[in-house]
Every structure is written in C-alpha cells, then in structure tokens.
C-alpha cells in the first residue's frame, strides 16, 4: 500500500500581530513547523503502514525551506519526501493548491490513501483535502477520528460530526482528512533523524507536473485578498471584586438578560 501525506509548513504560532504603524504582519523570528493537524496525518500514515506494509510519502508545496518539514516527517518514519517548489506556484489559493497537489499525486501514480490534516493553522480553510479529492475524482472521508478497518480495497473510518460520528466505508484510493482525536504523534527516533539527514528530497516544478499554467499560482486562483487588518482589539473588561458571595450576584445581574436573550 502506498500512503501519501500532504503536509504544509506554517508559522509556529498563530500569535501574529499587525504592526499598527506599518500595517504589516509581524512574524519576525517565528519558527516554521509542520501544521499541527498534519502531524496526526503523518502519524496515521505510519500506523497504517505498520498494519498493511507499504510506504509513506510526504508531499508539500511551499518554499525551498519546506524541505525541513519533509525531513522532520522522515525522521518520524516516512519513507520519502517530495517538495513542490516553483515561483509559478506563488499566489496560490486553495483551488490552485489542491490542483497542484493533485497533479503531483497523479505523477506519483500508484497510491492507495491520501492523508491530509483537517485544516492548516494559518489559513484555517479545510478546503485543500476535499479539493484534492475532487481534482482526482476520488471519494473522501473528512474529519476522521478513527480508522476502524482497512484492507487492499476498502477503508472504514469514523468521521467526527458536530453531534456524534458517522461510520463511512469507502473504496480505495481515497482521501482522508484527520482531526486530533485520531492518534498521538510519535517523536522522531535516532535512526529516523539519521535517515532524515541523509534523505534526498525530490523537488518538482510546475513543468515536471505538466500543470496547465492557467490553473496554478495567481492565475489559477479565483480568490483575491483585497485587505488585511487587525480585528478590533478585545479590551480586558471589568474585574469583579469581593468575596464569592458578593461577586456571584454581581455576575448574575450582568449576565441575566444575556442568558434570557440567548435562550430565544
């Protein structure tokens, strides 16, 4: 079985602020990490491989520095890494990103399961996984919290819904997006770290993927960011002081109307 895990490199914290003077994002010195949800996708790929045999390939589209994310995945146990890096990919929205990743997965050829994180912590869209699935005309199981069974032809997985979970059966190949509940990602082993150091990361450009130039980067992205701004800052509010027996009635007085209103 061949597992392909799509991982994105993101800033380590979402604590980015906009410099009010220059109106620019301040993220100096913020380290880059693997998107938290993608760690669960990597781990699940490795667990599936342990069960069924096969290989885990990690795939990322991003700047040359994303090489580090792929190596980290290899240090956890992934077999190989592919980096899609080309200036022509600049300005990609989720349409173009999922197209480009899908073209790369096509080129990889024989694959059984594509794993993605539920969403990336910078854009928070959760659109790329299903986007890859439709570009490749594949079934999808999103928000997977558990894989119940897998064999060469079929997978049965639980999808987390707002009010419970669904059990879904899909034929392979299939795209999965995973949530945190699915597993606990492992730490890299010493052997893995050595392998990561030595690994040769394959790099593909747009031309290697036979991408339609109209479908990648800026040109392939229907959406356009027209403005970026800081949300109105939340003011620290009022501290209620006194003994609990004094504070509680104060709080109730303040919340009562809102609670009665919320009930309607």
């Amino acid at each position: 079985m061949r597992y392909v895990v799509c991982i994105k490199q993101v800033p380590e914290t979402t604590d980015v602020k906009i410099n009010p003077e220059t109106n620019t994002l301040m993220r100096d010195g913020v380290a880059a990490i693997i998107n938290p949800f993608d760690m669960y996708a990597i781990e699940e790929g490795l667990r599936l491989k342990a069960k069924t045999g096969g290989t885990v390939t990690v795939l990322s589209m991003g700047p040359p520095q994303a090489d580090a994310a792929l190596r980290e995945a290899i240090s956890m146990g992934a077999d190989d890494g592919i980096l899609l890096s080309d200036r022509a990919f600049a300005g990609s929205d989720t349409w173009a990103t999922s197209y480009t990743l899908a073209m790369a997965i096509r080129k990889i050829g024989a694959f059984d399961i594509i794993l993605c994180g539920k969403q990336a912590s910078d854009g928070d869209t959760a659109q790329v996984g299903p986007g890859i699935a439709i570009h490749l005309d594949l079934p999808q199981i999103t928000y997977v919290r558990k894989i119940e069974s897998i064999d060469e032809k079929t997978i049965v997985a639980e999808r987390l819904m707002e009010n419970g979970y669904e059990v879904i059966q899909a034929p392979l190949p299939c795209v999965l997006t995973v949530v945190k509940e699915i597993n606990e990602p492992r730490l890299p082993s010493l052997k893995g770290k050595l392998a990561a150091k030595k690994a040769v990361i394959t790099t593909w450009k747009a031309a290697d993927l036979q991408c339609d130039p109209k479908c990648i980067g800026l040109e392939g992205s229907p959406t356009k960011v027209v403005k970026i701004f800081t949300p109105p800052a939340r003011q620290g509010g009022e501290m209620l002081k006194g003994e609990p027996s004094e504070i509680v009635p104060q709080l109730i007085a303040k919340l009562k109307d809102a609670i009665l209103g919320a009930a309607n």
Binding site: T24, Y99, G123, Q127, E162, V225, R234, M239
Partner: protein, 401 residues
C-alpha cells in the same frame, strides 16, 4: 514562466514597499539597492503596488474573466438538514442572504437536498427564500460527500447563481470544497462578514486567519458563483414571515449523479451531553483547573440551569476528562457563542483562537495574571470550586428553575 511581480528601474530605493508588504516578503539589504521580493512569501495582494509612489512595481494582471459574469444571477443558500430538520445555520444564511440579494437586486434562493423533505420548503420560504430548488430523492436521505456535491455541481452549472453560501459546518466545508473546484469558483472559508462592494458589485468576504489574530477581506473578481462558507452564530437568523411568498422548483437529476463510492454505514450520536457546542448560544468551558473528570459535573450542572453547552481546553481533553468533540481552540473547534464562561482555563493563545470572538467572555481563575483575563468581559479571580456551585445555585433561583 516569468515572475508575476517585478520591481523595475523606476525604483528609487525608498523602501516604502518593504514596509507595505503584509507578508514580510520584500526585503532590502542595503539602503541603495532595489528591494527583493520573495515570491514564496508573496501572495500578490498588491499592497506594494499601491504603496509605490514611483510606479516602479509591475504586477501581472490576472487575465480578465473568460466567462460572462452577468449571466450569473441570484443568491443561493445551501439548506443543511439532518434527518429532515433544517439546521439553524440555514436560517442565519437566509438572514444574511436576504441583505445581499436586496443590494444586488436579485432573488434569494434556497437549495434543499434530501428525501421526503418537500414539507420543509415552506419553512425556507417563510424565512425569506423567493425560490427553493428541491431535489427530493431517497438516495439523498443522508449527507454523502460525492452525491451531494454532484447534485450541487449540476444545479450550479444549469442555473448559474451569482453568490452561493453554505454553513462552515463539517458537512458544509466537506461539501462545497468539492463543488467550488468543479465549477471553477473561488471559495472563502468560514466568513464572519459579507457585503456587496457598491462599485464592482463583487461579494466582499471577510474572515479570520491565523486563529483570529488577523482578518482578511477576499473577493472573487473574475469567477462565478462567488462561494463562501459562513461561521455559525455570527449572522442573525432571518425572521419567520408566514406571508412571504416563494416558488418551489422540483429539479430532475440524472441517476448517475446520485451514486457515491463512499457509503455512510451508520451514525452514532454523542451521548456525553445533549448540546452541540457549535450550536450553543452559551458555553461553559473547563480546563486543567477542574482537576478531575468527575469535577466536570460542576460545569454540567451550571450548563443545565442556564441552557449551555459544555466546552473544554485541550489540557482537559488530553487528560481524558471529556471527549475531544468538546475541545475549543486551534486544534479543536472554533465557537462564537453569546456567552463563553471559562473556568480554570489559563487562556493560552491556542485556546483563545477558538473562542475570542464570543460576545461576552467570563473568566474564573485563581491566578490574577492568567492571560484569559486579557480577553474577558468579566473577570473573577477566585476558586472555581467555590464560585461554580454558587453560580449554579443562584442562577437556579433567579431563572426560576
């Protein structure tokens, strides 16, 4: 392919573009040099082009629309139903959709997929839909990613909506991501504000990014429909008006489109608590400060009395005190209730990412320096084991329960 953005010889090295770039993609190593644009960081937002007083930055214009934009009419809303029950997010979409349709001078339409759901069309019309596209087939009884997407793709291609809104729910996000790709539309996730640009008549879609630390406004100038998923509990529900008139259009769909390779075998409802936190108007949330799984009973009792859902920090979920579906934050759910009560939660940035847009935030924490107080509307420095039972007891009296 040549670079989509370039700084040319008109550059006077003033550095204005370096400052203007929201993504830190432009750097200038020395003062008298042409700044360099890192295309991997650049999102081609155009902020630098606007900042340059010397007309020295050239950015490739996106090719003009290749489709006739004016042939796309009406504002569509996807009517999410579970077991035949229209979900409240749908009414919020109709409320917002009404405003957009009115400013565009277009119709507001709902799209309802299901089995035996004809009766529900009346509900959608009473909430303001001028037209309901109904696809009523046994195969559509429950949501299935592929068949639902196929049907929507077919309807969009045939009827060409201008705007297409959907809830940013599990179903909504899984579904329209497929649709948008197939119909070559732009899709903006999890919007918290929508408006029509009076000049261009484009849909301005505003959404949080980076866990709510910044906001971005996005438009789709050259593609239609303009698609967006909308965050639950942000927009106001449309009022019920039984006098509102609308038509129902029964749509015929080719049998092959109803086929799904993936199959839903069963649904297991959550038993832990009744209230789904994404739906809840009030959430009481507990963190490591609660100390044990049993102590969550303190929150559940309060939740019962004030009609709230129960949330949790990741620390509480990781300690197995409460299931993951209750986790609020970056790796859990994003919620936006009217009231969020955080007890024994420190308020780390990853937790705040999931709840800081709540209307009223109440924090109960014994550490006066806890970061949660920075976002709290009302802060209480104290022991939750004293405060919570008192709150429950007194709310019970006040609310007459």
């Amino acid at each position: 392919m040549s670079d989509p953005i370039k700084i040319n010889e008109k550059c006077v090295f003033c550095g204005a573009c370096v400052k203007a770039c929201p993504f830190g993609a432009i750097t200038q190593t020395e003062r008298k040099t042409v700044p360099v644009i890192d295309l991997m960081k650049c999102t081609l937002c155009g902020a630098c082009v606007a900042s340059c007083k010397f007309d020295a930055i050239w950015m490739k214009e996106k090719s003009a629309a290749t489709i006739d934009l004016s042939s796309f009419k009406d504002v569509w809303v996807f009517a999410e139903q579970h077991d035949g029950v229209i979900q409240s997010i749908t009414f919020e979409l109709l409320g917002e959709g009404r405003k957009l349709a009115d400013s565009l001078g277009m119709k507001l339409c709902a799209v309802l997929l299901g089995s035996n759901v004809q009766k529900q069309t009346a509900e959608l019309i009473a909430r303001g839909a001028d037209k309901v596209y109904l696809v009523d087939r046994p195969a559509l009884e429950h949501f299935q990613d592929e068949s639902y997407a196929n049907v929507l793709i077919d309807l969009v291609k045939r009827h060409k909506p201008n705007v297409f809104l959907c809830g940013a729910s599990t179903i909504g996000r899984s579904l329209v991501s497929r649709v948008a790709v197939r119909v070559n539309a732009g899709l903006t996730a999890d919007c918290t504000a929508l408006a029509i640009d009076p000049k261009t008549l484009n849909l301005l879609q505003t959404r949080p990014a980076f866990g709510g630390n910044i906001m971005a406004t996005i438009e789709t100038p050259n593609a239609r429909p303009q698609m967006a998923t909308v965050r639950h509990k942000v927009m106001k529900e449309a009022d019920v008006n039984p006098a509102h008139k609308g038509e129902v259009s029964m749509e015929t769909i080719a049998e092959v489109l109803l086929h799904s390779k993936a199959r839903r075998l069963k649904f297991v409802p959550e038993t832990e608590t009744t209230m789904n936190i994404a739906e809840a108007n009030i959430i009481v949330s507990g963190g490591r400060g609660l100390q044990t799984a049993e102590n969550f009973a303190l929150l559940r009792e309060l939740a019962d009395v004030i009609g709230a859902g129960v949330g949790a920090s990741r620390a509480a979920v990781d300690s197995n005190w409460i299931p993951y579906s209750h986790q609020v934050g970056q790796t859990g759910k994003t919620v936006c209730p009217k009231i969020y009560i955080a007890a024994g939660i420190s308020g780390q940035i990853q937790h705040l990412a999931g709840m800081q847009s709540s209307d009223i935030i109440v924090a109960i924490n014994k550490d006066a320096d806890a970061p949660i107080f920075k976002v709290a509307t009302y802060g209480i420095v104290g022991d939750l084991f004293e405060i919570l039972p008192l709150l429950t007891q007194q709310f019970r009296k006040v609310l007459g329960k």
